[in-house]
């Protein structure tokens, strides 16, 4: 409506301006040849308002020319055939120009539309292929698709079409005979047909790639998880094979010998066999304990019961529990920590036992305690062969054994130590250089000495 009104107004102004111009030029130029100036009224109207308005302007121009300039002036009498000729020229101009203009305009609009579409597709491709989860992006994609299609809103649903939401009409998203999903636009809206035919298949193809990518990524993650759990299973199998079977073999051999009626055992050998049963069953028991602890830690079921402890006391108790007082030297401060005493003793005992195992026979293991205002650190230092850089973190993985090590236990001690350290708000790490021994460090938050305990 508004466009029609402005068109009419513009037409009137254009005709008036040209009419006035002819009036001004009339004294100098034969009036009949001035009629061609009305082309300047028809031309812009045809360009901007299309053929309909151009025809109106043509007729109005002819009438104005006739009324104001052609003798007899102020009548609509068309005395001469020139008048008809002028009208024909205006009309022809109107039709040709408006058609050309309209075509150019359509092309421009289409080009702009296509540019918007391809810009959107390119952007979507970048975003989708960046690997963000597709589901999270669907809302934004829908909005922008609505913009391209010239509708108010659009929603995208992946997979088979369900019942369309109320008040929407579905447009299938199909790529290479595969139904990728559905785009819902408001009912009665009129999506740009060209855009729909061009844009939707491209969008569908893109979504298909993204869906496949999502799926592949999921499968890859799953495969990786499976591979890891396979590794754990293999490690577990190996651990069970070696660490359960060795003590079992010792026990079965000893029991078999003690029960045999054909063997003649000396008292010393009987004692030795009983001792084997004792040592190996204790070893089995420890392994079962370790496995249970580890599974509890991994299930998050090892809630600590924190109490205030002097860190050096815990170290001493751990050393005593190992019966290793003569091989361990303890030095340093005596900070207070708020930890589960049993669990932290376990951490320290595992570290010290480990250090003893890898130290040359007869050499001492040093335990040093340092404290800052925030943290207390226990360092367990051995004089063993040390660890290469790449093993510093791996040795904390359950069932991990140092490379080339056949003596090691099930590979659970350090994993359990790290688990308990973390459960008590601490950190556990290894520092080493090959050939220079290994240091295991536990850092724990320090607690201020409560006022009532201060001397």
């Amino acid at each position: 409506m508004k466009r029609l009104a402005t068109g009419l107004l513009a037409s009137a102004v254009a005709v008036a301006v040209v009419t006035a111009a002819i009036e001004l030029l009339k004294p100098y130029v034969p009036v009949l040849s001035l009629g061609v100036l009305y082309v300047f009224a028809v031309l812009p109207i045809a360009v901007f308002y299309g053929m309909g308005m151009a025809v109106v302007v043509s007729v109005a121009s002819m009438l104005a020319f006739n009324w104001f300039h052609l003798p007899p002036v102020h009548t609509f009498t068309l005395a001469d055939s020139e008048n008809w000729f002028a009208l024909a020229v205006y009309l022809a101009t109107a039709v040709v120009v408006s058609e050309l203009a309209a075509r150019a305009r359509r092309r421009a609009v289409a080009a702009e539309q296509r540019e918007r579409e391809s810009a959107l597709l390119a952007e979507l491709a970048t975003e989708l292929l960046r690997g963000r989860p597709l589901e999270d992006e669907l809302g934004a994609i829908g909005e922008r698709a609505a913009d391209v299609l010239g509708v108010e809103s659009a929603e995208i649903e992946l997979g088979a079409q369900h019942r369309p939401p109320r008040g929407t009409s579905p447009l299938p998203l199909e790529a290479a005979d595969r139904n990728v999903g559905t785009l819902y636009t408001p009912e009665g809206s009129d999506p740009n047909v060209a855009a729909r035919n061009r844009f939707l298949p491209a969008l569908a193809a893109l979504l298909a790639v993204a869906v496949d990518q999502d799926r592949l990524q999921g499968e890859a993650l799953e495969a990786e998880a499976l591979r890891r759990s396979d590794l754990v299973k293999t490690a577990l199998l190996r651990a069970v094979s070696h660490d359960l079977r060795s003590p079992l073999t010792g026990i079965r051999t000893a029991v078999g010998a003690l029960r045999s009626e054909t063997l003649t055992l000396t008292p010393e050998d009987r004692t030795a066999l009983l001792e084997t049963i004792d040592v190996d069953s204790a070893r089995l028991n420890r392994l079962v304990d370790d496995l249970l602890d580890l599974s509890r830690l991994e299930a998050g079921g090892a809630a600590p019961a924190p109490e205030l402890w002097a860190l050096d006391d815990l170290v001493r108790e751990a050393v005593d529990a190992l019966g290793a007082r003569d091989r361990v030297e303890i030095a340093g401060e005596s900070p207070l920590v708020n930890v589960d005493g049993t669990q932290l003793q376990r951490v320290l005992a595992n570290l010290i036992e480990n250090a003893l195992k890898y130290s040359p026979p007869g050499s001492a293991v040093h335990v040093r305690i340092t404290a800052t205002r925030k943290e207390a650190i226990v360092r367990v230092v051995d004089q063993g062969p040390g660890l290469p850089e790449y093993e510093l973190d791996r040795i904390f993985e359950p069932f991990y054994r140092r490379s080339g090590d056949t003596r090691a236990g099930a590979g659970l001690g350090l994993a359990i130590a790290r688990g308990f350290a973390a459960a008590n708000g601490g950190r556990l790490w290894a520092e080493s250089r090959p050939g220079q021994g290994t240091t295991f460090a536990v850092a724990l938050p320090v607690v201020e000495v409560p006022a009532e305990l201060k001397a």
Partner: protein, 228 residues
């Protein structure tokens, strides 16, 4: 004190201790070693009549120890293996080990295997080998079951002869193929299974449940005297 000398090699001190006491109780004299190097040194210092050898050692494996031993000793070797170590076990047997037991083993089983490998040592040079009711005349190329002659093809006879000369010993597929068909002859293991089944039909009282020619799944065959 004591009779035949046995070397026990295992890196687990408790197993070493228990096996030592057991073998002494059975009348053997025992040396023990915890590493491959110790084992070879001990075997050289005091040559054992049999060796009980763990497959996994801190400084090597049982196969390498067997191979090294075989270059200067023919003392029978019994390998201690575990489930999951089948490949290593076969490798050790191929390298010249005589038999194996799987951990955890029973004392009686180990002692029986030990007796068997020690007994076997005398057998290989005999011109006539008797195993239960079987009588194999190596020189004449004839076989009799319970006094009755049995006709065997040349390959069947060779296979039986090799098994009989190693009676009680577990012979791996590869060892049998090598002995019977020669080292350069590429014969598949399933040829062997076919020949063994032929032999069983001709020699066994009940071929469906063999008593002489026993299958060691995944490893090989052994010929035993059902009466022992």
């Amino acid at each position: 004190m004591s009779g035949r000398h046995v070397l026990v090699v295992d890196d687990e001190p408790q197993i070493l201790r228990a096996l030592g006491a057991t073998l002494r109780g059975a009348g053997y004299s025992v040396d023990s070693a915890a590493t491959a190097e110790e084992a070879l040194t001990a075997a050289a210092a005091r040559p054992p009549e049999a060796i009980i050898l763990d497959l996994v050692l801190p400084d090597g494996n049982g196969t390498d120890v067997t191979r090294e031993l075989r270059s200067w000793s023919d003392a029978p070797v019994i390998v201690l293996s575990a489930v999951g170590e089948e490949r290593a076990k076969i490798a050790a047997l191929d390298a010249g080990a005589d038999d194996y037991v799987t951990k955890p083993f029973s004392v009686d089983e180990l002692l029986a295997r030990l007796r068997a490998v020690l007994r076997r040592r005398a057998a290989s040079a005999e011109p006539i080998i008797e195993v239960g009711d079987l009588r194999i005349d190596v020189a004449e190329h004839t076989v009799a079951v319970g006094g009755e002659r049995v006709k065997l093809s040349p390959h069947e006879f060779d296979l039986l002869r090799v098994l009989a000369q190693n009676r009680g010993k577990l012979m791996t597929h590869r060892a049998l193929l090598r002995e019977v068909w020669g080292p350069s002859y590429q014969v598949e293991a399933h040829y062997l299974h076919v020949y063994v089944s032929h032999l069983r039909r001709k020699l066994e009282p009940d071929p469906a449940s063999p008593r002489y020619l026993l299958t060691e799944p995944g490893a090989g065959y052994r010929l035993v005297d059902p009466g022992v």
